[in-house]
């Protein structure tokens, strides 16, 4: 009797574990049906769900372009889900929710989404509909594919350049924006003023890593620095650009004083509020994206400022004019119920010049289509034009997609953050260790 009860318990336990395992596995499976019709449907009809992360005013801009699509295709209804960030999008796709088309704010997901098939391979659609991929700017082409698989299309870009306060620059007797990092440092020190107690009153340029948009990724193009090699492994330790940038930045920090800069930076306003230090005139020069022009127009319309490409390392003046580029991306979910409709909407929003210009004018981001960058309908102010030029410059670059997202950048930035405090220690050995850490993390995802 006891034995049979025990047996029964064991059996029930085994069944429960087996059921749970089956449940787990069933929750993870589900491959995409990648069948593509030989010809695009002549008349589009049905429902398509579109998930994006924008909210409020920006969501209305997206909606206006969706409305145009629906007007052109009266039998189509687009169900728009706004305010869905990357985590929600990932979970929804993973859980098999009805996501036809998804938009992400980060190019960092491309590696994972392409590898896993979370975003479908777009090559069959592109080939069938003869979409000209060369119409995309080169950098946006590169960050929307991974290992030769195009699973996403760019949807506007964020480009980075130098903002400078023209009043403060004139007051310091500077007539033109800096073109090299040495000039940036010299001008910044000239424009920096101090209070009676020695604390910083106005800072020429804040060199602290981590501050606002001061990230390794954004500095990289200034020295043509590379992240990953053709084998997908880290080359940070062997690239000459990174130590050059790190030594310049750390020496710059030392000239003003790490503690003094830290105190000043800590007292500045939040980046994405009206208290932004550049907008408040506490910072004379700053690295930032094109979206700042919209913030300034809205929150500090009286600010006198101009923009210029970000300065290059002293021995890389040939790279001047370029900058860091990233952007939003869009793809068709693996669980899409209506991939043809999703593709039609994706194609419209990312390859139709008029739609892209409308989005760019509304969101104040930079178009990813060469035709849109040159379009007379694109509203281009003097400050915004710098970013339009950066987008088309051959020296502009981006961070490569990887299966660990931005993990490799985070590992390197942690090391740089620490290094800038003193600039002491063996930099070469430190960067080799960074390579090792990144490669170990990549091996965990891709296998040894």
């Amino acid at each position: 009797m006891i034995r049979s009860t025990a047996l029964r318990r064991q059996l029930v336990g085994a069944v429960a574990v087996a059921a749970a395992t089956a449940l787990i596995l069933s929750g993870c499976s589900g491959s995409a049906n990648q069948k593509v019709d030989k010809a695009a449907p002549k008349v589009l009809s049905g429902n398509v769900s579109f998930w994006h992360f924008f909210t409020d005013r920006e969501a209305k801009v997206i909606q206006s372009v969706v409305d145009d699509f629906e007007k052109a295709n009266p039998k189509v209804h687009v169900s728009v889900h706004s305010g869905q960030d990357d985590t929600k999008l990932q979970q929804a796709i993973s859980a098999g929710n009805n996501v036809d088309l998804g938009m992400s704010y980060s190019t960092d997901i491309v590696g994972s989404f392409c590898t896993s098939g979370a975003f479908r391979d777009l090559a069959p659609y592109i080939k069938r509909d003869k979409v000209d991929i060369s119409a995309l700017t080169p950098v946006t082409r590169s960050y929307t594919e991974f290992n030769g698989k195009r699973c996403a299309m760019p949807a506007l870009t964020d480009d980075y350049a130098l903002y400078y306060n023209t009043d403060l620059m004139t007051a310091a007797g500077i007539t033109s924006p800096p073109r090299t990092l040495s000039e940036l440092e010299t001008d910044a020190l000239k424009m920096t003023t101090y209070n009676a107690d020695g604390s910083i009153k106005v800072l020429g340029y804040d060199p602290l890593m981590g501050y606002y948009e001061n990230a390794a990724a954004h500095y990289g193009p200034a020295a043509g620095a590379k992240w990953l090699g053709s084998d997908g492994k880290s080359v940070i330790g062997s690239d000459a650009g990174w130590p050059e940038l790190m030594k310049w930045q750390t020496a710059f920090v030392k000239k003003i004083g790490y503690a003094k800069l830290k105190r000043f930076s800590a007292s500045l306003g939040q980046e994405f509020t009206a208290q932004n230090s550049f907008q408040k005139g506490k910072l004379a020069m700053n690295m930032d994206g094109e979206y700042r022009t919209a913030f300034i127009a809205d929150q500090a319309p009286d600010l006198k400022y101009a923009t210029a490409p970000f300065p290059t390392a002293d021995d890389h003046t040939d790279l001047y004019g370029g900058g860091y580029i990233t952007g939003n991306i869009m793809g068709i979910s693996k669980g899409s119920q209506n991939p043809e409709l999703a593709w039609a909407l994706l194609k419209y929003m990312t390859t139709d010049t008029a739609a892209v210009v409308k989005l760019a004018n509304g969101l104040k981001n930079i178009p990813h289509l060469t035709s849109a960058l040159k379009s007379p309908d694109l509203v281009v102010s003097a400050q915004y034009k710098t970013f339009v030029d950066v987008a088309q410059n051959a020296n502009s670059s981006t961070t490569p997609p990887s299966p660990v997202g931005a993990g490799y950048q985070q590992t390197f930035e942690q090391y740089w953050d620490k290094y800038q405090e003193t600039g002491a220690g063996d930099l070469a050995a430190g960067l080799t260790k960074v390579d090792k850490q990144i490669n170990a993390s990549l091996a965990l995802v891709s296998g040894p």
Binding site: V17, A20, T21, L23, I24, L25, G27, C28, S29, F53, T55, D85, D86, T87, Q90, Q91, I93, S94, Y105, S106, D108, I109, S112, F113, T115, S116, A118, D197, G210, Y211, Y212, A215, K262, R263, S265, A266, S267, G269, Q270, E271, F272, T273, P403, V404, G405, A406, G407, Q409, Q410, T411, E413, Q414, D417, K418, E421, A440, S441, L444, V445, G447
Partner: protein, 331 residues
Amino acid sequence: MTTLAERTTGRAVIAARPGQQRARRRRLLVVFGMLLPALLGLAVFFVYPLLASIFFSLTRYDGLSDPQWIGLRNYQYLFTEDPNVWVAAGNTLWFVVIMVPVKLAFAFAVAGLLTRARRSSGVWRTLFYLPALVPPVASVVAFVFLFNPGTGPINLILSFFGVKQGPLWFNDPNLSKPSLLLLAVWVMGDVMIIFLAGLLDVPRELYEASSLDGANGPQKLRYVTFPAMIPVLIFSLVTGVIAALQYFTEAAVASTVALGKASVGEGIGATLGYPDNSLLTYTEWLYVRGFSNFQFGYASALAVLLFIVAAAFLVLFLRKVKAFMPEEATS
């Protein structure tokens, strides 16, 4: 050989058995039926996620494609190659060992004082409890602004006392955790209320008897208050330690706001841990590896380890304190 009476009784017993069994079965069904919602909840929200985490921790899994079995590789990476896991574990341990006892001690002291308040006790209780009602994100944001080294009122007040260069608080790796400790002490109202209820429950006669025996204040605390409060203290300590092991929101928001990058709807993977990883907690690191680096298999291994540590602490701690429980002492 059985008598007729015995046989009759035996038949009666045999006849009664099926009835009793039916009643027992019915009772069991009722009990099971009443327990079912709770059991279902437990199975869906505890057993299934736990089994899933254990399974995923043995796989390479990005949260999107099918998991691939890799055995103990994630655990090998955790113990030998992960550059931040021990930093994160050390920070979390700090919160467990320093923050929890300090918060409890402060809450206990305030509750003790409130039991002695003769006038406006309701007002005082409300005042001390109010901060606990503030949502964690709002309280952290407020604290980071209050402690802003350049514009915050705390350093301004310190300057009146001759401190010209006030601390950097949340921007200083040495002070970021103590700054969060101050926040934890400020929002101790929830624990304080539990302690207050416990203290008011201690029989007055015990104090009177100890007074007659000549006990002074500290002796009353040691021999009357503490023994009576042990169940409440254990509960607060256990829940406090488990919450500290899972410490996330306050540290994440403090890092993001102190770095000047407060925003809504975008990833926070890059700001977690600021300054200098001093606020990188174990669960934050788990989040980064899972949601920012698409390493859900590895994140599951981190989660399993956290579960084991929490469970081990609980078992060891409860075993240790069992001897001090009043009912155990008397049995």
